[in-house]
Subunit: 353 residues, 2 copies
Amino acid sequence: MSDEGQLSVRKADSRRRSATQAVTMADVARAAGVSTQTVSRALRDPRSVGPDTLARIEEAVRETRYVQNFAASHLASNRSMTVAAIIPTISASIFAETIQGLSDVLLPEGYQVFLGHTDYVAAREESLVRSFSGRRPDGFFIIGTRHTQETTALLKRTGVPVVESWSWTPRPVDLLVGFSNHAALIRVVDHLVERGYRRLTFAGVMKPGDHRAKERLKGFQDAHARHFPGETPRVVTVASSPMVMATGVELLALVRAQHPETDAVVFASDVLASGAILACGGLGISVPGDLAITGFGNYDIAGQLTPGLTTVAIASKRIGVESARLLLRRMQGATVDDRALDVGFELLVRGST
Amino acid sequence: MSDEGQLSVRKADSRRRSATQAVTMADVARAAGVSTQTVSRALRDPRSVGPDTLARIEEAVRETRYVQNFAASHLASNRSMTVAAIIPTISASIFAETIQGLSDVLLPEGYQVFLGHTDYVAAREESLVRSFSGRRPDGFFIIGTRHTQETTALLKRTGVPVVESWSWTPRPVDLLVGFSNHAALIRVVDHLVERGYRRLTFAGVMKPGDHRAKERLKGFQDAHARHFPGETPRVVTVASSPMVMATGVELLALVRAQHPETDAVVFASDVLASGAILACGGLGISVPGDLAITGFGNYDIAGQLTPGLTTVAIASKRIGVESARLLLRRMQGATVDDRALDVGFELLVRGST
DNA sequence: ACCAACCATGTTACCGGTCACGTTAGCGGT
DNA sequence: ACCGCTAACGTGACCGGTAACATGGTTGGT
């Protein structure tokens, strides 16, 4: 009691290392007249201490402007209250929504999200997992299901729950929240064939590490083989162009040059398809009269174009939300019965087909 | 070599708390035949130990699969090697690019990025800063320059560098990397007037906490007052609609209903302007013949529309990159001479005006 | 009245690193 | 031979919390 006001004094030990004059839990304990353990209890579970003790501690926290040090907490309790998220690129708004969903669920529970992006390079993914592991996250969230062998091994060794997403695999590392890109493209092709289109061409950006794009291409090829046995599926790709509308325009030109008989273009993304639809206006190509066009992702623009873009809608935010829920359950010690969740997809038929 | 496979043995001390069988620095030290201090030195500055010792330690790290524990490092050294980033929303691709720039620079330097989003709510910003402070980040990056008083106080008390961005203020909390939204809109209005437009209307989404949108509106109003003294500037806003193209269509309808004489619409964002331009096609409105349209942000779509969208280009990725560089310099102990960096903006005149 | 069960709180050791400082060996100069 | 200096490495204390166990006071059933 009598040492009230000594908070800032903090014996000026010349060996003191930290530059900060940080208030510690001991300061709060002194101000409240209890032990540090009681302060710790009050902060992590207020009901575990007596009501007036709690009030005194809360007052002491306010008075001293105490801010808990998570690093110490982490070290002592072996829980970091963080989740590491690894995505191909932040700039793609569709992944951003997933991250938004993820953090919408995790932040209120006291977890914080580390973000890293791989730019579709497997080696970067591996080095990210490696460096993130040093933070001892309580969970991992990763977009994609294909990793280097070492990445998979690293993830398994962490001993914490791992969610893979945005894709599908029979053998997830741990948990899975995704859908089949392959099945989605089959649905697109079925739809086009049903509408009477016969000369389909797939067009997309194929970055070496973008396995979701590869799965889509594979779906196109498999469906094509089923509908048109013996015919070689038409495929036009660029490897290094950025995922922007101008690339869609470029791809459209390639399609018309290499496969002029094409009556429907299946784009690997709405971004590309939108660029192509807009370009068709200037080129005097009627959509879907001369050429049908499909996209993937159901971006904002898909419904605003004239004609509207037929595309595959993915519940991107929901992927984040469900992943967070799975992680939470596991991080809180519960067991999860269904380790794989298929969020599916929806074919949205609009004017472009 | 021969003790391969014994890693998991680790004397089963019944009082051992951590659930993990984690390899510690002591394990590495034992394997290499040195003290933990030497291992620590080898990891943080390889040149500070002898070359053959270094080789032995590196071999021991590999053999034991040691992963450094940053929490312990943080606690002991008082540096967390993290940066907290707070943005209004992750979904807006334009902020995503800034974050991409930020982490592109910080990750290679060993810093990791915590991400939180406020949804344009000041109270959420405050609670984010509060909870992030517990992680003791070595720096803060925030989009926006307007905060609650308490937020500002919290930021200052952390004692670490803080970058505010995407806006401008004569009194930053610490560092500033941004531009004047106000000046940008003045430039837009000047351009329209120069082109002969006389009946301008501003249209945008005005979320209560979106100060950048407010600054743009203010810029419009001030420029309008200068060009058309005495006239009341026309302004159409919605408060709660999401920032999507459909909202642009909605705003266009409002403009035509409330101010039918309008000959130029100044949108607060490219997203809205793009929706409006696309809708004009369907409504038989000629752009820029009947109506000129401008946007803000120079999104991908702006250059692909017909007509192209006149807009203001912001170096959004560069904001992240420069912010990271400033933070790095300060986190590494250097002093920064120029605490405020104006990345400017560029008016891109296209067909829509 | 007695003892078990329980609640609120304190005590002790420890989490896994790093800092400050100490020690040792090797070297050249005088 | 002595001294000082430097490079390389070790020792002990400490960072700021929390788990496990211990303690003292209440309560309630028999």
